[in-house]
């Protein structure tokens, strides 16, 4: 068996024989990753500079404007 097949079998066996606690934590991990990357990142945490400005020059100008705009 080549190394890729053996590695695949290794992971497959590992996941197939997960203990009860292992199944529970994997469930928690999957729910958590879904909430983080699908719900929070998309709906609540857009990258402000990437979303609002087209390129790095515009982003630089915006930050420069913010940093020098004091009263």
């Amino acid at each position: 068996m080549n190394v890729f097949k053996r590695t695949f079998r290794f992971y497959l066996d590992g996941f197939a024989n997960l203990p009860h606690w292992g199944k529970q934590v994997w469930l928690v991990i999957l729910i958590k990753l879904f909430i983080l990357f699908v719900v929070l990142k998309i709906f609540f945490f857009p990258d402000f500079l990437k979303t609002n400005f087209k390129n790095d020059a515009e982003r630089s100008n915006h930050v420069l404007e913010n940093l020098t705009n004091i009263n």
Binding site: F10, Y11, D13, G14, P19, W21, G22, Q24, V25, W26, V28, I29, K32, L33, I35, L36, L40, K41, F44, F45, P46, D47, F48, L49, K50, D56, R59, S60, N61, V63, L64, E65, N66, L67, T68, N69, I70, N71
Partner: protein
């Protein structure tokens, strides 16, 4: 003050970051410390061939796995917040922050996720030595991941190895090695990891004590306590030494934080260390309501001077010296720093306007001037002071800094005696009779978390108002978004993290109640 930035937005953004960072830090130290402890346990198993060590290794590895799995990716949220809530900051720091975080991400993904699979799936499938290597590499990988985060944090406390480029409005790294090996980064890494080892040792002793109190798995529990106590004792001694080095870094590079955590209002030669104290509501200085008097304090003469500068009679500047200046000791007044900061901002503004109006030659000349070592040293290094309207806002919360420092130190001293007593009772074979000590051991687990969190509260609250020491105050770092949006995500995080914590505790408690298993799964 910056246009469009209000205090509520800054406070909620800070509260949100503090909440997520503190929850994240509940999971991290146990992963860092327990990983190493499990690797030592497995080493003992491989060296001795004693199956009891295998049983011990597998049990603690299970708790390590639960903690690791629940905590994994909780730090990603902090990176989301950089992009959304701290966009000025994340742009301004540029690659200085990006490079260590990228290295951390690669290391965490490849090293930890590869070897952790062998750790959990590889029993009886790979050789003993290969499995042991995978366990050590997982533990080392986790600690190396922490290194890069701590390097980035240390840079915020003491910015080095960079120059500001007005064209891009970003810091550019001039020396990776200066950033990596700055004393602040080295000491912070050693102090943070060793304190995490202490926490893990207490965790092991506390849970093992529960088994002895229940009268079950006694051999397992005694062996775990001996190992935890020896490891914890070595780690706490090292933590104290590295904490001492870190304190000296703070005295040199963040003197205001140093004065705040000692409640030192007026500097002196041969300054005393307030070992214990209670801060009252009365102001010690009628001109400054931030400076509260002590109701009671126990002070040890000359120790603070030695702690800060390794000289019993050295001058340690107090808060008033740092605000008003002290010519005799070469302490620049805050007002002078503000003037220099304003000059730096004005120069940057002139550059921006020249660039905008197409005056290329003038813009180039201003850029050269701003990037010159002389301007960077004499003016740009005070850039953040240009935003400060009231010098008193340069003083962090003295009570927060003072109490968090003293809680950490007092608990650190207690841990020394705790480890020695655990070792003494176990070696003498009396541990099962010491019911009070066993109960104390269980309650020492939350105290270890309290000490660990207190250290970070001191680090982060103590450096306020700075997000990057002297260069960028917190108010200049935040994104102009609505306060309501930040409040919503604050409560969302509070719910998510609390749920995760409850899930971890429930799964972990269940495994602790099941206890260590023998080969084949039988009790």
């Amino acid at each position: 003050m910056l246009d469009g930035i209000n205090v509520a937005l800054v406070d909620w953004s800070r509260a949100q970051f503090a909440l997520t960072a503190m929850y994240h830090w509940i999971f991290v130290p146990l992963t860092l410390g327990l990983g190493i402890l499990v690797a030592i346990m497995e080493t003992l198993y491989v060296k001795t061939g004693n199956p009891e060590w295998k049983r011990i290794t597998r049990f603690w590895m299970t708790l390590f796995g639960i903690n690791f799995a629940i905590g994994v990716a909780t730090g990603i949220i902090l990176e989301f917040e950089f992009g959304t809530n701290w966009s000025n900051y994340s742009w301004f720091v540029g690659d200085i922050f990006g490079a260590p975080l990228a290295i951390e991400g690669i290391l965490a993904f490849f090293m930890e996720s590869t070897f952790i699979a062998i750790m959990f799936f590889g029993w009886n499938k790979v050789s003993k030595s290969f499995h042991l290597t995978a366990t050590w590499l997982t533990a080392i990988g986790a600690n190396l991941s922490a290194l890069w985060i701590l390097v980035a944090n240390a840079w915020m406390q003491k910015p080095v190895g960079m120059v500001f480029n007005p064209d891009t409005a970003r810091m550019e790294m001039t020396s990776f090695w200066e950033v990596l090996f700055s004393p602040m980064a080295v000491h912070k890494f050693l102090h943070t990891t060793s304190s995490s080892f202490v926490l893990a040792a207490i965790f092991v002793i506390g849970i093992s004590s529960w088994y002895i109190l229940k009268g079950r798995d006694i051999v397992f529990a005694r062996k775990s306590i001996v190992l935890g106590a020896v490891f914890g004792f070595i780690a706490i001694i090292y933590t104290i030494f590295t904490g001492d080095s870190s304190a000296r870094d703070v005295a040199h590079y963040q003197p205001m934080k140093f004065a705040a955590f000692e409640g030192l209002y007026n500097g002196s030669e041969g300054a005393g260390l307030v070992a214990l104290g209670l801060i009252s509501q009365n102001t010690a200085d009628p001109t400054n309501e931030n400076l509260k008097d002590f109701t009671v304090k126990i002070e040890i003469p000359n120790i603070l001077s030695y702690m800060a500068f390794l000289n019993w009679n050295a001058f340690v500047p107090g808060i008033n010296d740092l605000i008003k200046g002290n010519e005799k000791y070469g302490v620049l007044a805050a007002a002078d720093k503000i003037i220099r900061g304003k000059i730096a901002i004005e120069k940057l503004k002139a550059f921006k306007e020249a660039k905008k109006s197409g005056q290329i030659a003038r813009a180039d000349s201003l850029k050269t001037e701003i990037m010159s070592p002389e301007f960077q040293k004499n003016y740009f290094s005070y850039f953040g002071y240009g935003y400060i309207a009231d010098v008193n806002t340069l003083i962090p919360s003295v009570a927060f800094a003072f109490y968090s420092f003293h809680i950490m130190v007092v608990l650190g001293m207690y841990f020394i005696f705790f480890f020695l007593m655990a070792l003494f009772y176990t070696i003498k074979g009396k541990i099962h009779k010491k019911k009070t000590f066993l109960r104390i051991a269980i309650w020492t687990i939350p105290l270890a978390y309290l000490a660990s969190q207190a250290g970070w509260v001191l680090t982060e609250v103590g450096r306020q108002p700075w997000v990057i020491q002297d260069l960028m105050p917190t108010m200049a770092a935040v994104t102009k978004i609505s306060v309501g949006a930040v409040q919503v995500t604050f409560w969302l995080f509070a719910i998510i993290f609390t749920t995760l914590l409850i899930a971890e505790l429930k799964i972990m408690m269940r495994q602790i109640k099941i206890g260590p298993k023998t080969e084949g799964g039988a009790k």
